[in-house]
């Protein structure tokens, strides 16, 4: 077995064993902490698909994370107040059903990503970074002024949304949901990375002349990748909001975009499981360093600098070797 495969298995096992141990020893806080890591991991896996596989350095993925959060918040808010989201031209009512919220989130995030991508993918490099950032900031300020849904204060919901057959308010059960979603997202991205689309996307990232010379258009590949990426990160936003039973404009902030990027860089850009390692490390650091000092972000920054300067492949690069697998 390759080292990378062993790392992947160890990560998944750890994310399974640790919360189960916490459950047995009755430490619900640690279960919730793990769930948080898992949700962040999903956000990172989403960004990594655009950044690592497509080479699209988006500093605006908070747009999708926040959108997922607000889809959950708005639908649940209307369900709990027995009002409708809109009455005209047709009636859309709220819902407390997680699967429906996820579906709506995935669709809307992909649509938003196509919109943002169609405009921003005409640029590259620093311009692309700035434009994606600008779109997320627009949504950030929009939600701040959107008083119907709490404006700056955000929106709380009383109980977590429902999942058929489960009690989502039980930490271990909500954790299980998120864990399974993570597995599905990883399987999806793994399949994509080995597919025709994955091969062409990676080639486009490495050399656009090459992909054009074989008759294909980089823009279409990038736009599709961006939509998939946005949909995954959007989904994580919905899960995050449900975890906290709260959504606020912070989810759209540039700090959020930055943190999602940190998961990817810490873990290892371009590796399917990289952001999972990155998110886990982030949560561990936040927990340990955050206990030492309020200014733990300074230490995080130092570690990040170390990774970028000395371990370009992130955690995965250090443990599993620099070379990405070829089959």
């Amino acid at each position: 077995m390759r080292k990378e495969t062993i790392c992947n298995a160890a990560l998944l096992f750890g994310l399974l064993a640790f919360p189960l141990w916490a459950w047995v020893t009755d430490e619900p806080f640690l279960i919730t902490l793990t769930t948080r890591a898992i949700v962040f991991a999903i956000a990172g896996v989403g960004l990594n698909f655009a950044l690592g596989f497509g080479g699209l350095v988006s500093l605006g993925h908070a747009a999708f994370f926040g959108l997922g959060g607000y889809v959950m918040g708005v639908l649940a808010f209307h369900a709990q107040t027995y009002t409708s989201v809109m009455d005209w031209p047709f009636v859309i009512s709220g819902t407390k059903s997680m699967p429906i919220i996820w579906l709506v989130t995935i669709i809307l995030s992909a649509v938003l990503a196509v919109g943002i991508g169609a405009l921003s993918l005409r640029t590259s490099g620093v311009y692309f970074i700035m434009i994606t950032l600008a779109f997320a900031q627009m949504l950030f300020y929009f939600t701040i002024s959107w008083s119907t849904y709490g404006g700056e204060d955000g929106l709380s919901i009383y109980v977590r949304n429902g999942f058929p057959g489960l009690n989502t308010m039980d930490p271990i059960q909500y954790y299980a949901i998120c864990y399974v979603v993570l597995l599905m997202v990883l399987a999806f991205v793994f399949a994509l990375s080995r597919s025709s689309f994955g091969l062409a996307l990676g080639a486009s990232r490495q050399n656009e002349d090459r992909i054009q010379a074989v008759g294909q258009v980089p823009f279409r590949l990038y736009l599709t990748a961006f939509a998939i990426s946005g949909a995954i990160t959007g989904l994580s936003g919905a899960l995050f909001a449900d975890l906290n039973r709260f959504v606020s404009p912070t989810m759209f902030s540039w700090q959020t975009s930055g943190e999602i990027m940190v998961f990817v860089i810490l873990g290892g850009v371009g590796r399917v499981f990289g952001p999972v390692a990155g998110a886990v490390l982030f949560i561990v650091l936040e927990h340990l360093l955050g206990g030492l000092s309020e200014f733990w972000h300074i230490y995080l920054g130092a570690i990040l600098l170390g990774v970028v300067l000395f371990a370009r492949g992130g955690l995965y690069g250090l443990i599993a070797g620099r070379e990405v697998a070829h089959d």
């Binding site: 399949a191 994509l192 080995r194 597919s195 025709s196 689309f197 994955g198 091969l199 062409a200 990676g202 080639a203 490495q206 050399n207 002349d209 090459r210 992909i211 054009q212 010379a213 074989v214 008759g215 294909q216 258009v217 590949l221 599709t224 070379e323 990405v324 070829h326 089959d327």
Partner: protein, 251 residues
Amino acid sequence: MTDPILDIRGISKSFGALKASNNISLDLRPGEIHALIGPNGAGKSTLIKQIAGGLRPDSGSVYFDGQDITDLSTAARARLGMGRTFQVSSLAMEYTVLQNAVLGALGNRGDIFRFFRPVMKDADLLATASEALEMVGLEDFKSSVTSELSHGQRRQLEVAVALTLSPKVFLMDEPMAGLGTEGSHRLMGFLGELKHKTPILLVEHDMDAVFTLADRISVLVYGEIIASGSVDEIRGNPIVRSAYLGEEAET
């Protein structure tokens, strides 16, 4: 005389004050190798770029298979049947040799928007890719990562990827550079066969190769075609000798 498959009509292109292409006309007919020679900076690659796409001529047009393609994108031209190799290798450097060849076969088949089936297990694509790699002599390097190949091997891979496209014409920008004597001879033999199926517009510095392979030669100097004709005509042309072949002998 057969109709040309590729017909370049009065192309001009300037970069600021520099006339990189000055009213260039040339064509490529079925079954031939048309060699384009000229000193460094003459504008050979610039001309290839205008034919393959990626650089739009200021004036003039490019006809391919009877169709004006001057306004088409690079990708569209490739799909119409232009197989191109680059002077500076343009490959997916992180991929293996086989992955690069499969990419060509995939691009040519056109169904890149497939999301689940593992592409490196697609028997058709693998067959096309392997065949092309064998033709250029890279069959033993299938699992080598492209960035680890020698320059010569990268040139071979460029040719192999172009082969997977089953194009109607080849545009080859110095495919022999860095190949070494043995590699050059092998490729020359191969191109000599290939031209019967697919004509080749060949930019090449190696004069031996050009004089052996070419059916026609055009000489480009400072963006202008100063002579065009058969091998013997070019070899005996005094202007060419002083403008180009002479310089070649000095260096």
